[in-house]
Homo-oligomer: 395 residues x 2
């Protein structure tokens, strides 16, 4: 096995469902030892979230791959937890702000036990501000950040992005913060607290659209699959599916007119210049669809690409999973062997590194599966004591 | 000024437009010295991309904040570039794969000059595979990764996410790779190459939806703003705007029925259990809209939140920028002072760190503004020689 970038780094993962678990899964893929700490008997609520493989939540499996799993009641097990904190480098949690403080386990407390601890807190609205106590929820962060306002068409309903993008962005930004903090700790020995909000990361992803208002005082509209500034572009419709393309500049448009076998269109005063094409956008779309309906989506893509026009099919998820390029050449889906569910394929980490390739380190844990290893080997607790902790439901 | 996580790290940014510049901007916010290298006289093509502030591209300003700017022709200035590579820690580029090799500046060449160099290459489809030579373009990556297939409503057109999410995710994943590689280099002295693709990062963001097909062999549909598994939830429509909410479990739904002043609905056999509510989803939506239309979006949100129901308004970008929580309490928009455009507000980095707070380090550069500093101070080139380089359009 190749070396890993985060070898020797230990992460405590107290988080649940998506954003926090995704952050810790990235750190696991990069080679950290991630110990997921769950409530005895119950565990992370996403253990019962769709989708299932052989009765086990494959949702949980994906976001908790490659982690060790222990159980611990953070109230009655507080002393145990503090011992574990002394042995850790990074902690990830996504409780509502204040929960860890009320357990007397907030960052200010933990850093007394481990000055080098890097504490990543992910929440809906951040640790500060008037909204901090509201529950975090991906579709609502998408709404409040403005993502929904610019997704879909101007003459219909605002839509959320079908991917849980606020959660995903929060997880990755948490990883950026943790890794930057690790770099600082390498120089200084000091840990710190990192505060990530679902709304903030979503606002940040809209920077180019925010700028329309910040610089021009204009509210960017929903533009469907095209762009305000150029035409034609966006979607066209083949016999069996939708294609997204961009032929909105004066160099690409004549090429499209040529493959449509209507080269005259490129000279037509209504369409010759982009400024005019933008005004006659709807007519152009109809003309292109009239041509496109004779071909399959893949044929349209091939024709456009041959002419140097950027184009791609709107793949459904089955097409993505079965695509040779994505699946085989880029290795985006990998098997794990789950103790209960058997072999399950999950989505791979997208980062490729030449020396320390990120890899899914193994299955997600069965609830409490690594209690013995962590409590006896890391915390040096005797088997007898472990039995007592179990009997008292502390672990 | 506070310390920064990446103090002492030097980044060469050869990238253009969005994904690469975003990656390097994150490293700048974290405290790295980022030197953006642009083609003499032309510069990054996004210098002419909308949106504008006082005639300068604010798009460029946002994604290139806090960078130094130099000009260099990579063909005629190859030797100069190699000298600079020796002084660098990280390089970011988003050329089409093969461009740097054809300049004899590919990673395998550069590492002979600097073994510790971390080389981040961002492209549409990755450095390997049959699609590598296709142009990268955010909406097409959204299409080919499956994002469009799950965005919008099942009975209408697939939509892209209004944020350029493939580009944004590529930039952040590039930063994760660079920071993980930096951690590895701290232990070993070795740099490496990082390969990020717009399609891969988008596929990765869909993990929870990919799993529906990977585990259940079912293609996840477009679900609008709701979810397949629970009702009611998604959007409802107030007098002046749309609200996104989630009241799909058996605990929250009776609370919604209560604030609608129709507590009987919670007992109605058509709506009492989630399994039934999902079947009668459309009826429920109409009932909720019938109630919602009497109130403003903010009133609906307030009523729902008071009842413990997660809810938020679909903010337009002006509402986001003017929101006290996002703008002031979370400080998501910050001013830069651009030499030509004057004061312009841009979108802040969303990561908050207690010791090494990421900060926008200053304005974007005017083309070639730091030639003198970098060529004379870093590369020790005399003023006379710099003049000759300029005369020959090498810089």
């Amino acid at each position: 096995m190749k070396e890993k970038a985060l070898e020797g780094i230990r992460v405590l993962d107290l988080s649940r469902v998506l954003a926090g678990p995704h952050c810790a899964a990235i750190l696991s893929d990069l080679g950290a030892e991630v110990i997921k700490i769950e409530e005895p008997e119950k565990g992370d609520e996403s253990r019962s979230l769709r989708t299932f493989s052989n009765g086990e939540s494959a949702y949980y499996m994906n976001f908790n791959r490659g982690k060790k799993g222990i159980t611990m009641n953070l109230k009655t097990g507080r002393e145990l937890f503090l011992k574990l904190v002394k042995e850790a480098d990074i902690l990830v949690e996504n409780f509502r702000p204040g929960v860890m403080d009320r357990l007397s386990l907030g960052y200010e407390t933990l850093k007394k036990y481990n000055e080098g601890l890097i504490y990543v807190a992910i929440s809906g609205y951040g640790q500060t501000g008037a909204n901090s106590q509201l529950p975090g929820y991906d579709p609502i962060a998408q709404a409040m950040s403005g993502i929904c306002s610019v997704t879909g068409w101007a003459d219909s309903e605002p839509a959320r992005c079908g991917a849980p993008i606020a959660d995903i962005l929060a997880g990755i930004n948490g990883a950026v913060g943790a890794l930057a903090a690790l770099n600082y700790r390498n120089r200084t020995g000091k840990g710190q607290m990192i505060d990530i909000s679902l709304v903030d990361v979503s606002v940040s992803a809209l920077a180019s659209l925010n700028q329309v208002y910040l610089s021009e005082n204009r509210v960017p509209p929903r533009q469907g699959n095209g762009t305000e500034a150029a035409a034609p572009g966006g979607s066209c419709h083949g016999k069996d599916g939708t294609v997204i393309f961009a032929a909105g500049n004066d160099r690409l448009w004549p090429r499209l007119a040529a493959i449509m076998e209507k080269p005259d269109l490129a000279e037509d005063p209504r369409y010759a210049k982009n400024a005019e094409r933008v005004k006659h956008r709807k007519e152009l779309e109809l003309l292109i669809d009239e041509w496109a309906k004779n071909f399959s989506a893949e044929e349209i893509v091939e024709k456009m690409r041959s002419a140097g026009i950027p184009a791609g099919s709107v793949y459904t998820i089955d097409q993505v999973v079965n695509d040779t390029n994505i699946s085989r050449e880029r290795n985006m889906f990998v098997p794990i062997h789950h103790p209960a569910a058997g072999e399950v394929r999950i989505t791979n980490n997208p980062i490729k590194m030449s020396l320390t390739q990120p890899e899914v380190q193994g299955s997600s844990p069965v609830l409490g599966q690594d209690n013995k290893e962590i409590y006896s080997k890391v915390l040096k607790i005797s088997e007898e004591e472990i039995g007592i902790l179990q009997d008292n439901k502390i672990i």
